[in-house]
Symmetry: C2
């Protein structure tokens, strides 16, 4: 019957600072059910536990994978299901299979990210060279 002795919570501004997401984004993640704060104050302030904050950090790490928020929610829920001691074996197995699909997808997306980085730095280098060369022609200084 014990939730453990009183859990420390943080309000949204502090969380935003710590995690590096905007207030709006964190509220949005609440709205769509990705990270719902474990509690609210009497007056309605969102109260985040450390576990909630960790969850936000995880979501932030997922963002570059370019998944929809629906997919992200799906993944975090599957991870919950996997960790849930109430779940039966069959339920966990289903979660596991779907997570394996997401893991494969994530690996593809990492590969795509590497390509994007390659393209971006190819362009950036070319731009840098173009600027430097043009300046070499006309030193233009004093």
């Amino acid at each position: 019957m014990a939730d453990g002795p009183d859990v420390r919570t943080h309000q949204i501004g502090e969380v935003a600072e710590a995690v590096g997401l905007s207030l709006r984004t964190i509220r949005h993640y609440d709205e769509v059910g990705i990270v719902v704060p474990s509690a609210r104050s009497a007056g309605g302030f969102r109260l985040y536990t450390d576990a909630d904050v960790d969850r936000l950090r995880m979501v932030k790490r997922m963002k570059p994978l370019d998944l929809s928020l629906e997919e992200i929610r799906d993944v975090v829920e599957l991870l919950d299901a996997l960790a849930d001691p109430e779940a039966d074996t069959a339920g966990r197995d289903r979660a596991l299979d779907r997570l394996a699909l997401y893991a494969a997808l994530a690996e593809e997306r990492c590969e795509r990210l590497r390509q994007h980085l390659a393209q971006a730095s190819e362009f950036t280098d070319a731009l840098r060279r173009a600027v430097d060369e043009a300046r070499a022609g006309r030193p233009a200084g004093s």
Copy 2:
């Protein structure tokens, strides 16, 4: 007075295939003035020269830098200005300064991309380990 003897052109489908952008995207780039086809057929078909196609490729490489389409247009126009033999020295110098700013921005964005990749693959690895570990516990085979 010569534009050179008849310039080969390509219509949009062929270009999309070659560059790896959707028809819609290419049309959109025309609408907003990023890459405007050098010609149109009598009936209104967009006709792209090889130079146009190269320009599209350049834009595609810029995309991961996460610039707005307005900024992208700005950059390509500045590069045009720099290459334009009609331009006077002052004009080219202004272009050059602004391009140098974009080059610095691009370098920052590349750095951000690297961080994103790092975060994404950190998450991906963790997910992969979670799945594999859970499966090690329950081989679940035949």
